[in-house]
């Protein structure tokens, strides 16, 4: 893999999920998330688990009384954790008094719309990626994956290299490539129908530049050609240059079929005149 190129997020995600630090973080998240189920909804409102160090879970409690009571239930709570996560994940629970801990308001699920479905390839890839994850993690990972991949698919992309382009339009790297004299020369060559000399990203930048140039020329010529019929051949030349860049080869009559018949006819005749 070449450095500095965009990497599919899925690859990064899969790799991340295998890292020890991330695994620890995930474990912590699960332990904290399970707390309401372990302690029961009423007590969960008055307590808040906040840290997992080694096998010790730290829980903030509003007052001494509650902390005292809860220490008697420690064995029960640990047994429930062992039941949920297997023995050893949580080996000890400590209660810390935090007077400003407010009872958490009963939680209401925020209404949210399901994100638009991913395209089948991405969905299939995602399902494949999350398969090695432990049972309980797959659903949240699937949700996360869908959200991230969905956002990524919707994010603007660079029209030249297909990489991310936060501002829309060509990304800074492609803009800089287009500013290169060699790329400018290549764009001129492509417009003239000469075979490319560059390759890879530089050629892509030259193509984009050539296309933009051809389109700009066409747009500038169109109103003038409408007023001065003498300039119509120039307009047709510009149109052929645009086609040439788009196709990456000399346009043939067959390439004109999608165009309105009148335009195609004109261009076809112009092609014939030139050859």
């Amino acid at each position: 893999m070449r450095k500095g190129r965009p990497v599919p997020l899925g690859e990064v995600l899969g790799e991340l999920l295998r890292r020890p630090a991330i695994r620890r973080g995930l474990k912590k998240g699960r332990v904290l998330a399970l707390w309401p189920r372990v302690v029961g909804p009423e007590l969960a409102r008055l307590t808040r688990p906040f840290r997992l160090t080694g096998g010790t879970l730290w829980v903030a409690v509003r007052d001494h009384l509650l902390a005292h009571q809860l220490t008697y239930q420690r064995g029960l709570l640990l047994a429930r954790y062992a039941h949920e996560l297997g023995a050893g994940t949580v080996r000890e629970i400590r209660f810390v008094v935090a007077p400003d801990l407010r009872p958490e308001p009963p939680r209401r699920e925020p209404p949210h719309e399901p994100p638009p479905p991913l395209d089948p390839a991405a969905e299939g890839w995602l399902l494949q990626t999350i398969r090695p994850l432990p049972e309980g993690l797959r659903r949240p990972a699937l949700g996360l994956g869908r959200a991230v991949l969905g956002a990524l698919a919707a994010a603007p992309r660079c029209p030249v290299c297909r990489g991310p382009s936060p501002e829309g339009g060509p990304c800074p790297s492609c803009r800089m490539r287009m500013a290169l004299p060699a790329v400018a020369r290549e764009a001129e060559r492509l417009l003239a129908g000469a075979p490319p000399r560059l390759e890879g990203d530089l050629l892509a930048a030259a193509r984009y530049r050539a296309e933009a140039q051809a389109r700009a020329r066409l747009e500038a010529l169109a109103p003038r050609a409408a007023a001065e019929p003498d300039r119509v051949p120039e307009l047709l030349d510009a149109a052929l240059a645009l086609l040439r860049v788009r196709l990456g080869r000399e346009p043939s009559p067959a390439d004109l079929e999608d165009l309105p018949p009148a335009v195609a006819g004109l261009l076809r005749r112009h092609l014939g005149d030139r050859s």
Partner: protein, 346 residues
């Protein structure tokens, strides 16, 4: 232009040796004080570049002189440039014949980007004048001569001012004549540099960049202005109008970069000015100079770093220094304690 071979002896901390430089982008990688900047400076001097500060400082401790050799393939042919830096200054041989520095003007040479370029944007007007003057002198020996003549006349006129202004009219006319020609040169070059800088800045940072001369007097009004301000000048003993008091306005989206640009923006502008210089020289010679980037990559954010590397990667030849290998650059020269080792990448 392509630098094919470089060899040196007695330049700063560099170990005697030879370097064969491939076309395309090469990274010079090494820890601090390994000699990265020295290597770039040696390449710059060897291709005809001019630096500030005494040249004798460039000679290694204990050595009598520094010797630099480059072989370049330019559009105009193959050149062998030999430079000796010693107590009596700098002597240059082009294809084994002794020449003056200005005869190297036929070789595109090198453009050197370094962190100090920031002062062109953030420093006093003198820095901007110096940037512009050095650039114009690169393609016009006439301009170089004009600057020297103007400088000399200015000193004489200032001396005359201090002595009460006797025979000042004679100096006025000569100063105005040299000055007007300098101003015309600056306007002309700036008119060609500005669109290039604007295009590059738009590519790198999206916003537009405008360069405009700020003149104490227009070329055709210089003489008039000198006469007009004479009383004040007599009082202060210095000449107050002319190219030596002018500035270059750098406008970022219409706002003065000297005053308003953040450090990051100023760095980008400084970089863009040098890249524009490179492109102007390429246009002039129909051949791209060697581009040397000293430590500038590390100062940019990720996207601009990639953009800059994408740009220099597309040039015929460029060298970039860094403490860590920059991403995506395969050819590397590793430098440690002045000794280089070439590592061809995968």
């Amino acid at each position: 232009m392509r630098l094919v071979r470089f060899a040196q002896r007695g330049f700063r901390n560099l170990a005697e040796g030879e370097l064969v430089l491939a076309p395309g982008l090469t990274a010079v990688v090494g820890p601090n004080a390994a000699g990265k900047t020295n290597l770039l400076e040696a390449l710059y001097l060897a291709t005809g570049g001019e630096v500030r500060g005494p040249l004798a400082d460039r000679v290694a401790f204990g050595a009598r002189e520094a010797w630099l050799l480059v072989e370049v393939e330019a559009a105009a042919g193959r050149f062998r440039v030999e430079t000796r830096i010693g107590p009596e200054g700098r002597r240059v041989w082009l294809n084994r014949a002794p020449v003056g520095l200005k005869e190297l003007a036929s070789v595109p040479g090198a453009v050197w980007l370094r962190p100090e370029d920031l002062f062109v944007v953030k420093g006093p007007p003198e820095e901007r004048r110096r940037f512009l003057d050095a650039l114009i002198a690169r393609f016009s020996p006439r301009y170089r001569a004009l600057l020297a003549a103007y400088e000399r006349t200015l000193r004489q006129r200032n001396a005359a001012l201090k002595e009460g202004g006797r025979a000042i009219a004679a100096w006025d006319e000569r100063l105005a004549a040299y000055g007007a020609e300098i101003l015309t040169f600056r306007r002309r070059v700036l008119a060609r540099l500005a669109p290039l800088a604007d295009e590059l800045h738009r590519a790198l940072a999206l916003g537009g960049l405008d360069l405009r001369p700020v003149e104490t007097a227009a070329p055709e009004r210089l003489l008039e202005k000198l006469r007009e301000r004479l009383p004040e000048e007599l009082e202060r003993g210095v000449t107050l109008s002319g190219p030596h008091r002018d500035d270059l306005a750098i406008l970022l989206e219409g706002r003065d970069a000297v005053r308003f640009a953040s450090r990051g923006e100023a760095r980008t502008v400084a970089l863009v000015l040098r890249l524009a210089e490179h492109r102007l020289l390429e246009r002039h010679h129909q051949d791209a100079p060697l581009l040397l980037l000293d430590d500038v990559v590390a100062e940019l954010d990720g996207a601009r770093q990639r953009a800059l590397l994408a740009y220099v990667g597309g040039l015929p030849q460029a060298v970039v220094t860094a403490t860590e290998p920059p991403p995506g650059v395969e050819r590397r020269v590793e430098l440690a304690a002045g000794t280089w080792r070439v590592r061809a990448g995968a």
